[in-house]
Amino acid sequence: MAELTINGQKRQVDVDPERSLLSVLREDLGLTGTKYGCGEAQCGACTVLLDGKAVRSCVTTIAAVGARPVTTIEGLEKDGKLHPVQEGFLEADAMQCGYCISGMILSGVSLLNRSPRPTEREIARAMQGNVCRCGSHPRIVAAIKAASEKMPAAAEGGATK
């Protein structure tokens, strides 16, 4: 039995500690906002925050998570209010099929956690590990940029801590 802290809540899971965080989130905890895209940490669709930093949940085992807090896409919205990065994506319509977007948003939040005022070039560099096959890249950069301008510089991104 392991105890995970997901989106601020303690969750008990009776699973093999070598299982991936991705499969436990999706199959055991019903948190399907985190997506499978490749299983080899190459596409970023499965990105979640671990201690406020982006990790690929497909290659992160439950054992490696330990007691550290995990934030998934479901945990960003607070009291009906979207995280500024979520707002940014909505306002820029930075999506087509949307399948990569959870991972994109969490990678964006992670970036703003460590660098609150990134340039467009820094955003593109930080997002390099996230694949969007539909080609919404310019809008995704614009969305994160817009979010960064809205967020107080000291903020650490909503639910990440």
Binding site: D16, R19, S20, S23, R26, E27, G30, L31, T32, G33, T34, K35, Y36, G37, C38, G39, E40, Q42, C43, A45, T72, I73, E74, L76, E77, L82, Q86, F89, L90, E91, D93, M95, Q96, C97, G98, Y99, C100, I101, S102, I105, I123, A124, R125, M127, Q128, N130, V131, C132, R133, C134, G135, S136, H137, P138, R139, I140, V141
Partner: protein
């Protein structure tokens, strides 16, 4: 289970050159059942399928699409339109507007643009329209979401249904308010009589009714110039569900008691299962091993256990006889394979074989002649959501499958065939899907999940791995294109001979006016399973054509844009070329020694596109960097400018991959690079500043925007590379390892 293991090595993808046909006869549900199925009393708008969308798919747009096989039954070869009456629109007693279309949402934002069409004609706010898509029990038959048909054909159909509903509401209001019908006005979900200050909401008018009304095919629609909802940018209607992770793609669906499936893949394409020992796998907790002919798979309570169980299966495969083809000899193999066969007619916009004038005389009259062979590799769609399905058998034997496909009804047909079921016993539901790009026309994953669910007696979810998606899906066809042409001193292209081997006929015929030309498509038995891809072969044909025209222009020292315009009467094509050139600043001096600029244009699916690009080519390595891409695009009256731009940018970015570095490598009966770590797709660093000019022609019918903008990018990049370093690249991808530079310049 033939579909699980078709033999792609020995058989060309069968549906590729077939028509996609709907059933010859379908009989509607009794009206009472329709109301029950569609949410209770109210007002229901019925209509036959729009012409050309089901029974008589105009060959020009579906002939080359993949996935036609499964759905065919009854009246094959007949061209009569099916006499189907579909229910398109329902207004409930609470005023809820629900519209029904058999299209699938795969990221092209059909849900949004079709909602706009309904909102416009029904005079309701956009947010009040609920759109049901791709559900074979609820939506009218549809051949599939391909060929850029949603906007030109489905949107007018939704509009006609909405007009019919508005007319009935006005009729009811006239009777209820006892006023002259001409004094009533429908707006904002209400019918208003200004003089008497009476108004009634649509729900109020629909209350207590069980009215059906047929659509008038000639109903006057709001002309684009008077659009108030369409023609304006609207955000993705379910965008909030996307950014919060609430939207459930197929792979997110959970059913009570659901188990996880996994399929055992053959060692090589075309291999058959000689023996299977499932005893070790069967001992794992909760695991069921399934074998049916060449199909083998497992069902388990968790996906991790299913993975373990698949690993525990001991299988012996019998590989097909002979040497497996490889990507090393692909182009020679394609040419050799074609020599035995006659060129075939083919559809696809202006595509198709064609001969006019006298090519030999044209060549003789030319100042310069150029002959060259171009090639394009197989590429993968690599949708970020791999193929997935959830299958559930009800106690009464009815099969329901949720799956991401562009052909819900086609997949229903495949399931009916695979399991010998009548239409009434199969339901396919397509949740908004993690993209397709032409790559999700078939239903193998649905059949696999259903077979596993049948064995397990429980609902089963099957999600293909990335490696499965890269290996067992189908590919954008590879091809060889041979071109021979001549140009006169004044820039007139005097002769044009163009042969496409295997990649396809879409976009084969030039948009230019060449007096002497021959174009032909030569089908070949493809070594890999192949099918539709965004814009079909138009990308390959434009690559060869627009590269060759560039070369002809340079051979006489003329500007490539001027030569294009010299040979072009089509005003719409001229307009996009000129718009792109203007926005780009075509003709200005180079901004650096390592820089080059290129231009190319094209026409596909009633859309016109032109690209101007600037590249830099690094000395030594030959690494290509896109510095800037300008796109001018015209698709008639623009329905949703921002989403249209999103589609154009998406096509350009996806096009970067196929243009510069994407290719499927294969040998020994399998794909050698079936991972994102080995198959390079465009990433943020590959995307240059993009500038998109939309030419909004409100006087012309709206065309789709998902496909055409991809066709001219690769040749524009190739032409720019030539401009930079004088190396003519004739294969796609152009420069997976950089441009091979001559020693002197390196």
């Amino acid at each position: 289970m033939s579909d699980a293991n078709d033999s792609p090595l020995v058989e060309i993808e069968p549906e590729r050159y077939e028509l996609s046909e709907g059933p010859a006869y379908r009989f509607g549900m009794p009206r009472r059942d329709l109301f029950r199925a569609l949410g209770g009393a109210g007002l229901l708008i019925l209509a036959p399928l729009p012409e050309g969308e089901a029974g008589v798919p105009a060959p020009s747009f579906v002939q080359q699409e993949s996935g036609g096989g499964g759905g065919r039954r009854g009246g094959q070869g007949g061209n009569a339109a099916p006499q189907e009456i579909g229910a398109w629109l329902h207004i409930g007693e609470d005023g809820t507007v629900t519209a029904y279309s058999g299209k699938a949402e795969v990221g092209q934002n059909a849900r949004t643009s079709l909602s706009q069409a309904v909102a416009e004609e029904l005079r309701v706010p956009l947010a009040s329209v609920r759109m049901v898509l791709g559900d074979t029990d609820l939506t009218p038959y549809d051949a599939g979401t391909f060929g850029s048909r949603t906007t030109p054909a489905m949107a007018p159909q939704m509009r006609r249904a909405a007009v019919a509903a508005r007319e009935v509401l006005l009729d009811i209001a006239t009777e209820q308010m006892k006023v002259a019908r001409g004094d009533l006005n429908a707006a904002n979900g209400k019918v208003v009589h200004a003089a008497s200050k009476q108004e009634r909401g649509y729900g109020e008018l629909a209350r207590g009714q069980k009215l059906t009304k047929a659509v008038n095919a000639d109903a006057p629609l709001t002309p684009p110039a008077q659009w108030t909802v369409a023609g304006k940018s609207a955000r993705k209607v379910n965008g909030r569900d996307i950014v919060t992770g609430k939207h459930q793609y197929t792979s997110d669906i959970q059913r009570p008691g659901m188990l996880y499936g996994k399929v055992l893949r053959p060692e090589a394409f075309g291999a058959t299962l000689a023996s299977l020992d499932g005893s070790a796998a069967q001992k794992l907790p909760g695991v069921t091993v399934v074998r049916d002919g060449d199909f083998a798979g497992v069902v388990a309570p968790r996906s991790s256990v299913a993975d373990e169980a698949i690993g525990a299966l001991k299988a012996e495969w019998k590989k097909p006889e002979g040497v497996a083809p490889t990507s090393q000899t692909l182009y020679a193999d394609l040419k050799a394979g074609a020599s035995a066969q006659q060129p075939q007619g083919s559809g696809g916009g202006r595509g198709g074989n064609d001969a006019k004038g006298d090519v030999a005389a044209g060549l003789a009259a030319a100042k310069e002649r150029r002959e060259a062979s171009y090639n394009v590799a197989y590429i993968a769609h690599a949708p970020l959501e791999p193929r997935a399905a959830v299958a559930e058998w009800a106690a009464d034997g009815k099969l329901t499958v949720w799956t991401g496909t562009q052909r819900p009804f086609g997949v229903r047909g495949e399931l009916m065939q695979a399991f010998n079921l009548p239409e009434s016993k199969v339901r396919v539901i397509v949740p908004d899907t993690g993209s397709g790009y032409g790559g999700k026309h078939t239903g193998e994953q649905a059949i696999e999940a259903a077979r596993l669910a049948k064995a397990a007696g429980k609902p089963v979810k099957l999600v293909w791995t990335r490696a499965e998606e890269f290996t067992w899906a189908y590919f954008r066809p590879a091809g060889v294109i041979d071109v021979k042409a001549g140009i006169a001193d004044d820039g007139t292209i005097t002769a044009w001979e163009f042969h496409n081997y295997n990649s396809g006929g879409a976009g084969l015929r030039p948009v230019y006016d060449f007096a002497n030309q021959t174009t032909a498509f030569h089908p070949v038995r493809s070594p890999l399973r192949q099918g539709s891809y965004r814009a079909l072969a138009s990308t390959a044909n434009h690559f060869a054509r627009e590269s060759h025209i560039d070369e002809l222009a340079r051979s006489i020292g003329k500007d490539p844009l001027a030569v294009r315009l010299k040979n072009l009467k089509d005003e719409r094509m001229r307009a996009v070329l000129e718009a792109a050139a203007k926005a780009f600043g075509w003709g200005k001096p180079k901004s650096g020694e390592d820089r080059g600029v290129g231009i190319a244009g094209g026409f596909e699916k009633a859309g016109y596109v032109a690209n101007c690009v600037e590249v830099s080519v690094e000395k030594g390595s030959g690494a290509v960097r896109l510095m800037r891409v300008v796109t001018a695009f015209e698709c008639g009256a623009v329905v949703n400018p921002d989403q249209c731009k999103n589609q154009v940018e998406g096509a350009i970015i996806q096009g970067i991959g196929g243009a510069l570095f994407e290719q499927v490598v294969f040998a020994g009966g399998t794909v050698s690079n079936p991972y994102f770590s080995m198959y390079r797709v465009p990433r943020f660093s590959d995307v240059p500043p993009l500038e998109t000019v939309l030419l909004d022609r409100k006087d012309l019918p709206s065309a789709g925007a998902g496909e055409a903008p991809i066709v001219a990018l690769a040749p524009a990049i190739g032409n720019a590379i030539f401009d930079a370093v004088g190396v003519r690249l004739r294969g796609l991808p152009l420069a997976p390892d950089g441009v091979p530079l001559p020693k002197a310049s390196a």
